[in-house]
Amino acid sequence: MRRARGGAAPLWALWVVFLGCGVPPKTAELVAFEQMRGGEYASVIREQMPQLYEESEGAYHKALAAHNDREPELAMHHTRVATIFWRTATARVEQKDFADAMKASQHRLRQAEERLEDARRRKTAAIDAIARQERILAMQSRLAMAEEKAQLEKKAAEVKAKVDAAVLALKEAESIDAAQHAPGPFNKAQAALTMALDAFQAGRYKQAEESAAFAAADATAAVAAARPLHEVVLKRRAIDEQLKQMLSLASARSGVEARIEARGLVVTLRELFKSGEDEILNEKFGELDLIVELAKRGEALRIIVEGHTDNRGRPERNLALSDRRAQAAVRYLSGHGVGADRLQPLGRGDEEPVSDNSSRAGRAQNRRLNFVFLKPNL
């Protein structure tokens, strides 16, 4: 037991010496630094911040040496310095990272600005183009309106021409008295024309065109129907005028009696013959020449030469005498250029007295030759 006690004492002493000679544990700051130093970031710091890294490493090794030399204050100092350089290096690396990030952002910013500018240009171009298109559309619209107006005006002009044509047709119909000669189509034409004019004024061109067409057709029909009748009327008027002129000529001659009857101009000559004879007295040739002149003026007219006597003597004899006297006048006239085919002698005897046969004056009135310039049958 004593040996045991005696044997244990040196061991205890040796253990105390061993402990006294051993390196004390590292400080928390040094351990923390070493953890930092051993991290993944260390290689980055070594590559990017070599000067600060070396500073930190130098201080760290000094700290380790001081620690091993059991100089805790000096070890603490160097540990702090190493830590400060390490943190400085870390901050510089991070600063560089941020600077790189900023450069990348600036690059993206430029790209974004280019896209923005491009979009702005596209927008401006599109707005300009839209404005152009809108102007084109407005022009097209105005053009369409102008074309529509032009077409309307053209249509109006066409319809007006048709209405005018209908008006002219109706005027033509009026000019030939179609109202009288062909009242049916004329009145229809007039009504249709009124409708056409009203419709035209109201801008109802289609209706105006249709009514004008009806009016023109009816007016044309009226003209067609009325023209023959009108021509007859004209011819009659012309003949009447001619007869009036002939009457005027005849009336101007003394001893000649002339009048217009329904059948035509009747010129009466008296005392052309000696009593009971059929030879024309020479002094009466002048009066017959008047008849010749009248026949030339009315050269289209047939002439009946009527012989009349008074009632003295037998009627058969008077009839024969009047006929011979008419023929004598016809011969004279044909001998002086009046066409024989126009002349017709007609003995009337004493059947158509114009005065009282009981008196001498009356009988003288009844002895006569009537030159009847016949109105043609139209």
């Binding site: 400060i84 350089f85 900023m102 952002s105 923005l116 979009a119 927008k123 183009a129 097209q140």
Partner: protein, 142 residues
């Protein structure tokens, strides 16, 4: 040994302030770092490195004490830490500035990309309208 440490401090201080040929005294070195600390505080308007600045100020205070006590050894150590700490603060402030600038740039990118997208959508809308108008114009062309 102490003398050499003082000379080392003077050398580092001189490098930091670009001193002229004449070596600076410890007092001048401390005053130089004190002035730099003030500049750094002014720069730290957002007070992002307050703790680090506190350490720097504390070490500058220690340096003043060692200067008065004429404890050259401790003074040299302290000035060495002050120098390193000032560098750290400078680096931290630079990092913060870089971080802010990167953040602002990233935000500007996002904003500009949004503007570009909006503008592209607007341009597309007008282009679509244009196509429609062109089709209409084509249809109405006699």
């Amino acid at each position: 040994m102490i003398r050499s440490l003082i000379w080392l401090g003077a050398l580092l201080g001189g490098l930091c302030f670009q001193a002229t040929a004449a070596p600076l005294s410890p007092r001048e070195i401390i005053e130089g770092y004190t002035a730099q600390a003030t500049q750094l505080e002014l720069r730290d308007a957002r007070r992002e490195v307050v703790s680090e600045m506190g350490t720097l100020r504390a070490w500058l205070g220690e340096a003043q004490v060692y200067l008065k006590q004429e404890d050259d050894k401790q003074l040299a150590f302290t000035i060495r830490r002050v120098q390193a700490q000032a560098g750290l603060i400078q680096a931290l402030l630079d990092r913060k500035d870089a971080e802010r600038a990167a953040k602002e740039a990233a935000e500007a990118v996002i904003q500009r990309e949004q503007e570009a997208s909006a503008m592209a959508e607007e341009a597309f809308r007008f282009e679509k309208e244009l196509v429609e108008l062109e089709r209409k114009t084509q249809e109405e062309t006699p």
